[in-house]
Symmetry: C2
Subunit: 716 residues, 2 copies
């Protein structure tokens, strides 16, 4: 656990704020340490007492004769800073601040939190909290915590570590896991995360050999790139990282802002980071339980082909319903498999998928048949995983199923999941056998499907992330570079923006800027029909001032159009500075996309792409990724769009150049990354995907320093 | 229980197929009846025995001296028909056939099932099954069942009745309910439903005073209209009907077809029936449990405003996230409420929504404050329901919460739900208090949101269904009528279809059919631009033969276009019969919808509407309702579409005539209903919604007798 080892396995702990009131956090911490058999030294601190629970009680941290690895602070907010000053003086390396009354509680708390960090930084002391429940290290009996973490039921030791911003809710997840038999190693509630945050803790846990899976609940992070990195590192280490990001809706985000006062950012960016790192997102307590159970097995199906077998036809249908949208299919079984099944399943059963074993199949007399049936099914090359529905099967039958499947599981790399609805009180013995064999037992067929889908997705994500991370690594190393003209002020003009994007490798339309009707001679060098647009830093909505004319087919029409837009602009926007008139070729055919960059405070440059046009806007058909990324990732983005099929050509129209679109997106992402110090926002709207190539038809670039409320959407 | 009372409370039961083999269904039935204290007479039947379990055993049903209300048949499939013949002869009114080997098992079984029904109908005997687990009537100790229904744990008596096509899976739902403390009245597994089906049983249960809520699992129904009716009747009786329709995906439907060989139909039609009847759809076992718990309370919030209060900020955020898409909002609290809360919540808490009561709030010393806080919140006019997050609160605190909330619940009509994550083993006493007060306790904040949303939706559905049912009642009474020309053959031509639809009250475009260039004189009576299309019963795709010309602006252009499409058709489709050329006004502006009718085998005439154009097709932006329906329902359909906002006018475009669109849809639904004996399918594609009115620009009507594989999509 590297730099945090003395935090999580402290040799000595001072607890400030013990009292006769058992409800006080400090008192709870000392009692939890004693009760759980913490083997280091405990120094209770309260000037009013000589002794506390049989331990010598100190007047101040300064009075403690020995070194202190961790000071736990449970005094009311107003008393926290003096305690920290003393601890800093004593060079205590870590402080855990349980008290609330900081950033989350108004201006006074904000100032208190600022001072707190100042004190800590002065001495190099690192802080967990404030406003948190503390942490427990189950293998070393460190219970530096109060409240639910210290109460019954005590969590079982295991290989899952939990990091949670919200102690109360995070521990609710832990309790559900505990009830399902999942054991824990570290449980850490981080509260305000003023100093040490979830991402840093996950990073440390990746180096803990005994932590095999990490579960986290966050309301926000202040460094989206660090989240991406730690997710990719977790994937590289083969340790699944399950993450619940709360505050994903508008009202959820509002509630989060008032809770731990976390930095929030668009959920879309989190979602992109999850995709780019293989973080397994969870949105429900049951998902945490189910996915952990499944991931603990460590077997990942090579594809989505599932054989469903069991004694309940209805359960198989429900599995099929839930599996389809999750990418699982009830695969065809080979003739060989069906022949083998024929020999061991009664005639009124079914040897196609779903396999109907018939009622009462799980019985002692049927052990050999069951084994043959399951092995034959697993041997089928179309089958990547098996779901066995034992459904309401009772005690004796469940044990038969558990023993047979447990034995088979030892010699297959294909995952097996089980649906059982019998009460745990009845089939406890079977559940123990299943658990030993790492076969997850789920309480509904849909949840069995969800667990299998998670395993399949994890394997897919691993391949995707490994490839993309390798590609991005070289790109990320690129130093920021100058993209702006020195004298740029406000949003760049369409012409300037297009020139910059063209230089970055994004094809733009063939444009010429002219200043008066004489310049209509450019007509001869262009392909009609043409479009003219007024160019002015002061005119955001060109159409509204009559500054756009389309469908120009002759040189004379061009001259007239140039004159007209200049005239309109002078009349309707007399004070606007006119830089000229942009003449461009009208793009015909193809499909309109919108692409853009937002340089987010938390996630840095993010590239988005979506369907263009009015309907798409209503549907929110967009997706995004953190820049930079390669063309394969860009193609994955395009593949996510609802409009994707249109690009392949529909209703007799030609297929469009998806490769060129992916190249342009990847180029935009490189540009966004290299220009990260200068560019605040890029909008390319529309960019046309044509049968050959793509063309950005309009573009705006807004510098980073400008506030985000500038008008940004371009128009043709 | 009216006509089924002697089925579900039989005075005497003959059980055919008892044997020394305890695993035989017949043996299980007799033992279950004896064990559960059935008070009627039991007549075991097996010619091999004199006695069975201390009861006189009969050689045949014919040998039984007394009247038999119910014969339970558990012999292998081949032996079932002879038993039924004897029972029919004896005028036994009801048979329960447990045996499989019927329709679900191939051609021989299909024939067996046909004969079975023939025998039954000959004597008026009604049948449950075959291929089912049987039923239990908990208040009368009738366990006419085998397998899981007869095993431990025994269900508690209660007010929920369950009807399930799949015994194995349906009983899995029952077991989960049992574990959550929900009690049952009737549990009926129906298997193949050859005679008595789920809908008929639900109908009977609506007349059972002690059944307050009905839960059903079906894979299909053969009469969608009966499902709609029973759903509406359940709503009128104030008995929530929760229904799980399995086989909703393509692979789910395939699996269902091989299971109980049910009639399947598009899930969209089921979904329409649910909306039109207020049936509460469930898709997961946990939903059944949660919604039953909530609905048992019988309190329905007047709106979506929820106050969330508790000791876990994270839980409130998770509630907010789950509540937003479900239509629940964390409402603003009035100043009066906030003032009241200020007095009883510590300073570091929060008196806005979500209300942070602060850690440890649920404690004996704090009872009065808690009561004041909850009452003040419930008194707030913005608050329609309250969610209290006790989260990890332990035994003592949970009892305080349960007692205070339980007391308050007695004097409020606003529902209260609770989220608790403490193990039931710890807070069992509190759970009992909550249960007595009908306060549902959910194991996650998202599930608490789901339960509250179900209550809010149920109230909304009740208002909607009552209104719509009243409107539809008069329409439904309409007799079928002739809409087709006597000599109609195949799909009706565009002109014929439009004439019929116009007569039905659906505005169509201004069309004239002409036969040659001389007829270009019609130009003077029409408003350019015009469109011409070839009219031929043999040309399905007019564009492909050059049979369509658009943008005609002069009389000369019209003459040329008429000549051209006639010429093209003669050249490219020389054998096609040409009926003439349709001249129509080109519709400009507005938004394209597609509307249509499918006369479904299970559901009868169903009207669908969706966004038109290429993009909409990819997105499946459509919705449907069973015909007939009124304009309010039609408007609700339009409101469901993703494209709905476009109709209000976007990007400066004028608002479109949604009222006219609703009128046209309602007219189409009346037409579909009245023409139900003749019309198989109607496609109106496109129908333009204009700033004033709507216009059907192309239409096809296909008669009922024709197979559905005809080309149906029109084109302009």
């Amino acid at each position: 656990m590297n730099k945090f080892s003395h935090l999580f396995e402290p040799r000595s702990i001072a607890v400030v704020g013990v009292s006769d009131d058992v409800a006080r956090p400090g008192s709870q911490v000392v009692r939890a340490l004693l009760k759980n058999g913490y083997r280091g030294k405990i120094f209770p601190v309260n000037p009013k007492y000589e002794q506390f629970d049989g331990l010598k009680c100190y007047g101040s941290v300064a009075d403690i004769e020995e070194d202190v690895d961790l000071v736990v602070v449970g005094v009311p907010a107003k008393g926290v800073l003096p305690v920290l000053e003393v601890a800093a003086e004593k060079r205590v390396p870590f402080a855990l601040i349980l008290s609330g009354g900081f950033r989350e509680s108004g201006p006074e708390g904000v100032e208190r939190e600022r001072r707190m960090l100042e004190i800590a930084r002065g001495s190099g002391m690192r802080i967990v909290g404030p406003n948190c429940l503390g942490f427990a290290n189950l293998h070393a009996n460190v219970y530096a915590a109060f409240g639910s973490i210290t109460r019954e039921p005590k969590l079982k030791p295991g290989t899952v570590s939990l990091v949670t911003q919200s102690g109360g809710f995070g521990y609710s997840i832990a309790l559900a896991c505990e009830a399902a038999g999942i054991g824990f190693r570290h449980v850490i509630a981080t509260g305000n995360e003023s100093d040490i945050d979830t991402v840093q803790l996950i990073d440390a846990l990746l180096d803990d050999d005994q932590t095999k899976i990490i579960l986290a609940y966050i309301e926000g992070t202040r460094d989206g790139r660090a989240l991406l990195d730690v997710g990719q590192r977790a994937m590289a280490r083969g340790k699944p990282l399950l993450l619940w990001k709360a505050g994903v809706t508008e009202q959820g985000a509002r509630a989060a802002a008032s809770h731990t006062a976390s930095m929030t950012s668009s959920y879309d960016y989190y979602s992109a980071a999850f995709k780019q790192s293989g973080i397994v997102e969870i949105r429900e307590i049951d998902q945490a339980v189910d996915y952990l159970k499944a991931l603990e097995g460590g077997k990942y199906p090579a594809g989505g082909g599932v054989a469903v077998m069991g004694v309940s036809g209805g359960s198989a249908i429900v599995f099929a319903d839930a599996g389809e949208p999750a990418g699982l299919s009830l695969c065809e079984l080979t003739e060989k498999t069906q022949d083998a099944l024929q020999g061991v399943i009664p005639n009124i059963g079914a040897v196609h998928n779903p396999i109907d074993l018939t009622a009462g199949y799980f019985s002692a007399g049927n052990r050999a048949n069951l084994e043959t049936a399951v092995r034959a099914t697993l041997d089928d090359p179309n089958v990547h995983a098996v779901c066995v529905n034992i459904a309401t099967t009772g005690k004796a039958g469940s044990i038969v199923a558990a023993e047979v499947l447990g034995e088979i599981a030892r010699s297959t790399e294909k995952p097996i999941v089980v649906f059982s609805s019998a009460p745990a009180s009845q089939i406890g013995e079977a559940l123990t056998v299943f658990a030993k064999a790492n076969i997850p037992v789920l309480p509904s067929p849909s949840r069995a499907a969800g667990a299998l889908a998670t395993l399949a997705n994890y394997r897919q994500a691993r391949a995707r992330v490994e490839r993309a991370a390798a590609a991005a690594a070289s790109q990320s190393a690129t130093a920021p570079r100058d993209v702006f003209p020195r004298n740029a002020e406000g949003a760049l003009s369409e012409a300037e923006a297009k020139a910059i994007l063209a230089a970055a490798g994004i094809p733009v339309s063939n444009d010429v800027i002219v200043s008066d009707v004489e310049d209509a001679a450019v007509f001869d060098k262009m392909t009609a029909p043409l479009v003219v647009k007024i160019v002015s830093p002061d005119i955001a909505h060109k159409t509204e001032v009559g500054g756009v004319k389309v469908g120009i087919r002759t040189r004379a029409e061009l001259a007239a159009a140039i004159a007209e837009v200049l005239d309109n602009a002078r009349q309707k926007a007399p004070s606007a500075r006119i830089s000229g008139v942009l003449v461009t070729e009208m793009i015909q055919g193809g499909f309109e996309l919108i692409a853009g960059v937002v340089n987010d405070e938390v996630f840095g440059p993010v590239v988005a792409v979506g369907a263009g046009g009015i309907y798409a806007e209503l549907l929110g058909d967009t997706t995004c990724r953190l820049a930079p990324f390669d063309e394969v990732t860009a193609r994955e983005m395009l593949d996510e769009l609802k409009c994707r099929r249109i690009l392949d050509g529909v209703r007799g129209k030609p297929a469009l150049d998806v490769d060129a679109a992916a190249r342009a997106l990847a180029a935009l992402s490189r540009f966004a990354w290299e220009a990260r110090d200068q560019v605040g926002e890029v909008d390319i709207n529309p960019v046309f995907v044509l049968p050959h190539g793509v063309v950005a038809a309009d573009a705006v670039i807004i510098p980073k320093a400008r506030p985000a409320s500038q008008p940004v959407s371009g128009e043709q």
